[in-house]
Each structure stands twice: as structure tokens, then as C-alpha cells.
């Protein structure tokens, strides 16, 4: 009896806009903590978000590049949770009507064959801030420079059947966003990271197994070695 692995990836690509998705703060990496967070990023009561048109343009470019539908009308929603690096208490994301849906990406495998992978959706989302647990003994530092950084969240169907295919797909998306100039692809700085949903099932079975989600895989090496 043989088993097969089923993998779907959710890639978070930080869009290469100069300012944040809902505010005019800079998105440049490496600044002093909390120097690139304005009233909107800090979630002050009474301020309102203004959508960055460049982020929308970049998301649409990605949609066109994978032959997807670029929605003429897409909707932002709130993902509510409590965490100290999320000052508003919710993340603004897209849920029911994402800007991009139903595209295809052809991946190249080692044996010279190719496979077409279905991209279910790609939606715009604001990143949260960072909690720094190491610098301060017994305390947690909060850096809100990253809060409000635009992300394109690219969600594949569970079409991938091995870690190698997952890596090939991730490399393909990485190459594409860099070619389009919509993401710098820097994995060390977290500009390109990935959550993996993995399950196993009997070979040939139609039903999917129970999945596990591995968050924030930030290198190709980690992904290849990740136990399944």
C-alpha cells in the first residue's frame, strides 16, 4: 500500500511599493524600530485607511501574469485577533472577493517534465508588526515598522505532490514576482515567505487527508527538508 503527499502553498510576497498599503509611511527595510509607523499604522482611534493604488496595480499585474481573473470589484475585510504587534486589533485583508482568482502556473520538474498548478486566489493584505522576544530579557519589544506593509498572499490549490514540486512552484513564483518587479524576493528580510498545508492519503484516493499547516517557511532549504 503506498501513500502520497498533498501540498498546497500560501506564499506571502511583500509588494515593492515605496509606501504602505494604507498609509504614506516608508516600507524600507532595516530602519530603527518604530520610526516608520505613522498614525494610521499605529491604529490611532479616528484615522482611516487610504488604499495605495500602486499595490493594486502590482496585484493586478500578478493576476495577468498567471492568466487569472483580475476582479473589477474586490473587497477588504477585517481579520480580528488580539496581539501586541497588531495595534488595531484586526488585520485588513481580503476574504470573500479577492483581487485575483483562478490562475495557472506551469512548473518545471527535474526530470524535464512540466506540471500546471492551479492558483486559487491572490489577495491583498496588510502585514502586522514584529514582536522581538530576544533583545530584552523577560520582556517583548514591539517594532511597528512592518505594520501595514503590503502583502500579496498567493494561494495554490493542493496540487503539489512532493517537496520537490513545492520547491519548484515556490521558485517559479519567486522568479515571476522578481521579473514583474512587484517584490524583491528577499527571503532573509521576510519579503517572500510561505505557509505550507500538507496532508497524506492513499495513492489514488480522491479525498484529502487531514492537513497540517507549517507557518513562515522562509527558505527553500527549510522547505525541501521539512518532514512530511
Amino acid at each position: 500500500m503506498s501513500w502520497e503527499v498533498v501540498i498546497g502553498l500560501e506564499i506571502h510576497a511583500q509588494l515593492a511599493t515605496r509606501s504602505k498599503i494604507f498609509s504614506g509611511s516608508s516600507t524600507a527595510y532595516g530602519a530603527e524600530p518604530n520610526t516608520q509607523a505613522n498614525l494610521v499604522d499605529l491604529g490611532y482611534p479616528g484615522v482611516l485607511p487610504v488604499l495605495n493604488t500602486e499595490a493594486v496595480r502590482m496585484a493586478a499585474m500578478f493576476g495577468l501574469a498567471i492568466g487569472a481573473t483580475v476582479a473589477p470589484r474586490s473587497v477588504f475585510a477585517r481579520k480580528n485577533y488580539f496581539y501586541p504587534d497588531l495595534p488595531k486589533g484586526y488585520q485588513i485583508s481580503q476574504y470573500e472577493l479577492p483581487i485575483v482568482h483562478d490562475g495557472q502556473l506551469v512548473i518545471d520538474l527535474d526530470d524535464g517534465t512540466t506540471r500546471s498548478i492551479h492558483v486559487i486566489r491572490a489577495h491583498l493584505e496588510e502585514d502586522a508588526g514584529k514582536s522581538l522576544h530576544e533583545q530584552f530579557a523577560g520582556l517583548t519589544g514591539i517594532d511597528l515598522n512592518r505594520a501595514g506593509t503590503p502583502l500579496l498572499v498567493i494561494v495554490s490549490a493542493p496540487d503539489l505532490r512532493s517537496a520537490r514540486e513545492a520547491v519548484a512552484y515556490m521558485k517559479k513564483v519567486h522568479q515571476l514576482v522578481r521579473y514583474l518587479g512587484i517584490c524583491d524576493g528577499n527571503m532573509q528580510e521576510g519579503s517572500f515567505r510561505c505557509d505550507a498545508n500538507v496532508s497524506v492519503r492513499r495513492t489514488g484516493a480522491e479525498q484529502l487527508g487531514t492537513r497540517t499547516e507549517s507557518k513562515t517557511l522562509n527558505s527553500v532549504r527549510v522547505m525541501e527538508r521539512h518532514p512530511v
Partner: protein, 287 residues
């Protein structure tokens, strides 16, 4: 403006006269590029035409009177004060037209889904980390949240946050928040149909005269029901104005005028005309 229920939040003016309200509204209204929820529409000088006698004549204008505003919930003395106010408009040449807002009864339950849902999200930032009261004795993050919010918020705010979090929770969203959005559309459609036939809609602002501060604090449903005539206007996104029109029992009752979208000018004109003919706005409740 601190966000409470974002789809309902709207800045408004409290003034001594309709003319003052018109002056201040002219200064306040208009497009703000940092507010993507506002409309980019021209703002007339609302006060400019109020003084002239031509504007005071309401000849040929039609005022809709929703029969649901005068049903059993309205106290008789309030009804009498409002009917008396409506006669002033008739004397100025306006025609009163009875009409129906069949979905009106949906408005309080709809509001108490929509407003708590949005408030539970908007008030989550008052968690003791950056904003709001911070409990000094919290020892863990969960305790910081629960003790700060448990102590810092009052009973009515907590009631709304609990209701709102419940109606937005997974599995209940469609049954409550989504359904409330659909009811909201029915209410707005009622008004839209009416404005095809009338310039303005008029009725009481509340079903009873004002109650004393804190008097109904232990009866939230009674307090909620007092908003039955103003909540549908808010849900439908329409402008409204309330002017005093009587003091039954010593406390004020309001006449409410409701306009179509961007119909503020007519509200100020009618309210100003009413205040030229009456002196309710110059009186004070007994102290």
C-alpha cells in the same frame, strides 16, 4: 471621530438654531482625501438662502408622513406635539402626504446587529497595550487584555462588544451580520421609494419625551426602542435633523425631518422656516 460602528458613524452638529447648524455644516462638509468613506460631491452654502422670504414659503413642497411613525409606540402627547408642528408646514403652503415604510420594524433589531458587530471590531484596539485603560496588576498577556477591558469598559459597551463578537463569530456571520445587511437594504429601499413622491419625510424624533439622565440605564431594551425613528435614517445613510417642537411634561420632544441622499439643503430650509414661525428652540426645559 473615534470609530464606533464604521458603516454608521457620521459627524453631526448640535446647535441652538437650524441656521447655526447650516453654517457649521457648510464649514464641516466636503471631500477629505484621507477619508475613503466620504463622497466627493460639491457642498452648497446651506445658510445662504435661509434668510430670504422666498425660501420660507414652502408652497408646492410635499412632506411625507410615514404612518408607522405614528403607531402604538408613540406617546399621545408626543404625537400631538408633532402633528401641531406639521400644521405649521401646511400653513406655509406644503402638502402633507401619508406614506408607508413597511420595513421600519426591522430597524432596531438590524441596528443592534450591525452596530455591536462593528463596535466589537473597532473597540478591540482599547486593549491596554497602546490604547485605553491598562490594568496595573495583570501578570500575563491574557490577563492584561481581560482585566484591562473588563475594568475599563462600562456595562453597555461590554454588552455591545459581547453581542458583536457573537454575531461575527464563525458559523453565525451569515445568520446575523449578513442577514442584517439584507434588512438594511430593505429599509433603504423603503425610503428610496418614498422620495420619488415627496421632498422630505417628517415625524417624531423619539417615541417619548426625553427621559432624565440615567433614568433608563437598567432597561437597555427600553433605551434601544427610543431610537426606533432615528435608527432607520442612519441605516439608510440619509441626512436627518431634529428640532424641538414641544415640552410635554417639561422635557423636550423633537420633530424629525429626513431628506434624500445629499438633501441637507431642504432639511435646513424647512427647519429654519419652522423656527421662524415658532419659538420652541428658544425655550429651555425647567431646571
Amino acid at each position: 471621530m473615534v470609530a464606533f460602528a464604521s458603516s454608521l458613524d457620521q459627524a453631526g452638529v448640535l446647535a441652538l438654531t437650524a441656521e447655526d447648524a447650516a453654517l457649521l455644516s457648510t464649514a464641516m462638509a466636503g471631500f477629505d482625501p484621507r477619508d475613503s468613506t466620504c463622497a466627493d460631491a460639491p457642498v452648497p452654502d446651506y445658510a445662504a438662502s435661509l434668510g430670504s422670504s422666498a425660501a420660507t414659503s414652502l408652497a408646492g413642497r410635499r412632506i411625507g408622513i410615514p404612518k408607522q411613525f405614528f403607531d402604538a409606540g408613540l406617546e399621545p402627547e408626543s404625537a400631538a406635539a408633532v402633528r401641531e408642528a406639521l400644521r405649521v408646514f401646511e400653513q406655509l403652503g406644503a402638502t402633507l402626504v401619508e406614506l408607508s415604510l413597511p420595513s421600519l420594524a426591522l430597524s432596531v433589531p438590524t441596528y443592534y446587529i450591525v452596530a455591536p458587530a462593528e463596535c466589537s471590531s473597532n473597540l478591540s484596539r482599547f486593549d491596554g497595550v497602546r490604547f485605553g485603560y491598562r490594568h496595573p496588576d495583570a501578570t500575563t498577556l491574557d490577563e492584561l487584555y481581560s482585566r484591562s477591558r473588563g475594568t475599563g469598559f462600562g456595562a453597555e459597551v461590554k454588552r455591545r462588544i459581547l453581542t458583536g463578537t457573537y454575531v461575527l463569530s464563525a458559523g453565525y456571520y451569515d445568520a446575523y451580520y449578513l442577514k442584517a445587511q439584507q434588512c438594511r437594504r430593505l429599509i433603504a429601499d423603503d425610503f428610496r421609494r418614498c422620495f420619488a413622491d415627496v421632498d422630505l419625510i417628517a415625524g417624531p424624533t423619539t417615541p417619548t419625551p426625553a427621559f432624565r439622565l440615567g433614568e433608563k440605564i437598567d432597561d437597555p431594551v427600553q433605551m434601544y426602542l427610543n431610537d426606533i425613528y432615528t435608527i432607520p435614517v442612519n441605516l439608510a445613510g440619509l441626512p436627518g435633523i431634529s428640532v424641538p417642537c414641544g415640552y410635554p411634561g417639561g422635557l423636550p420632544i423633537g420633530l424629525q425631518l429626513i431628506g434624500p441622499h445629499f438633501g441637507e439643503q431642504a432639511l435646513f430650509s424647512f427647519a429654519h422656516a419652522f423656527q421662524q414661525e415658532t419659538d420652541w428652540h428658544t425655550r429651555m426645559p425647567p431646571s
